[in-house]
Subunit: 246 residues, 2 copies
Amino acid sequence: MTRRLIGVGVGPGDPELLTLKAHRILSTADVVLVPATEASGDGPGRAERVLGAACPEAVGRIVRVPFSMSDPAGVTARRAAAWQTSAAVACDAFAVGAQAIAFATIGDPSVYSTFSYLADAVLERFGDVEVEVVPGITAMQALAAASRTPLVEGDERLGLVPIKKGVGDLAQTATEVDTVVAYKIGRHYAELCSYVSSLGEEASAVVGVNVGTPEQVIGSPDDFDQVPYFGTMIITGPRAQRGGRL
Amino acid sequence: MTRRLIGVGVGPGDPELLTLKAHRILSTADVVLVPATEASGDGPGRAERVLGAACPEAVGRIVRVPFSMSDPAGVTARRAAAWQTSAAVACDAFAVGAQAIAFATIGDPSVYSTFSYLADAVLERFGDVEVEVVPGITAMQALAAASRTPLVEGDERLGLVPIKKGVGDLAQTATEVDTVVAYKIGRHYAELCSYVSSLGEEASAVVGVNVGTPEQVIGSPDDFDQVPYFGTMIITGPRAQRGGRL
């Protein structure tokens, strides 16, 4: 039997937003790795909480591994060590007989996840492993659905931009698309709101915090003084008036 | 009881890529509307085929409605008539006692779907209806997963561009993002391949046709002479060399 390492997207937080495939794989994998963040301390991280609600049968097979931010441009020694630790956990499990190991990630493993680094680190140590990816619903999609904001229609173009370093990249991208979604908006929220104001009345924006969880809050930019790091904003019509510039 | 109209994304084609929520709602709705395309003739359209495989219990409650392309910039009389016909079917069902009507759409109702037009047309005729949206996995995500191509990592930016009218918009958007995804690539496939070639060796591309269906084909641009209308291409690193221009 081929050994399998499967990156599984568990969606944004709502246990019902797992796919049937994600549910089947997480329910039957020999081991389910979940990222444990420093923020979550000794408690479960977000992926583990979703898993507990959606797949209680997986709980006895969960193993926490160190979380590391997805940032290939700035791979620090600490981050590389985190992937290697996670890879070692997976390889040890394969060595003692595991056939299928799942790595549960919030959202989609193809969108700002670290799964590809984990997979590469496992393949370096243990060549004979088949890697699979199961897509998941992203926060952007969950916010669009919950707020009934179509992301794109007809010939429209969509952009997705994380604003960890400020609003400059977002404003540039917005000149080329009809809807632009900002991820990781917490740190630069005031700057982002100023940018949205500069777009004029034909643009509109909706903000989502903890979308799909019991703590979900959705509103307009003015409804929030500040938002946590992982907040999301959908900005519709940034090109409607060309005046929108930083 | 409040009447509910629910736009439900059924994913790209694989019945296992429905969410648990989509499955629950489609299994229990009083009526399930599915778009019937001219291309599908008297047979089931794509959403109906997914539904038949994923939710056999829904089959007896399926009603086909005319499909119309999502194109707010070019609303033809024929398209508007299609939405009105669909809205009339929904309103007739509410009038005879239906409490929950689902509209099944391939992919995600927030991404190039006509659900928002249907919802608006229903609300015009029948004010007392609660509209909900259940997100779904898009072709872009399914292709990324099946080909193990991360869409974005770290601080990277993503663009999604339909190329019904040619490659110009895509090439413009690609100057601002790290990965650009092209939808509806069939008609302009040769032009798209020329553009990808112009990007140089640091860019790469993967093409998916019928991703998530039994007819799925995934390959590099050179693997295809032509692709159907609904093909998808992920282009990674279009900015790696700035030479990539039309």
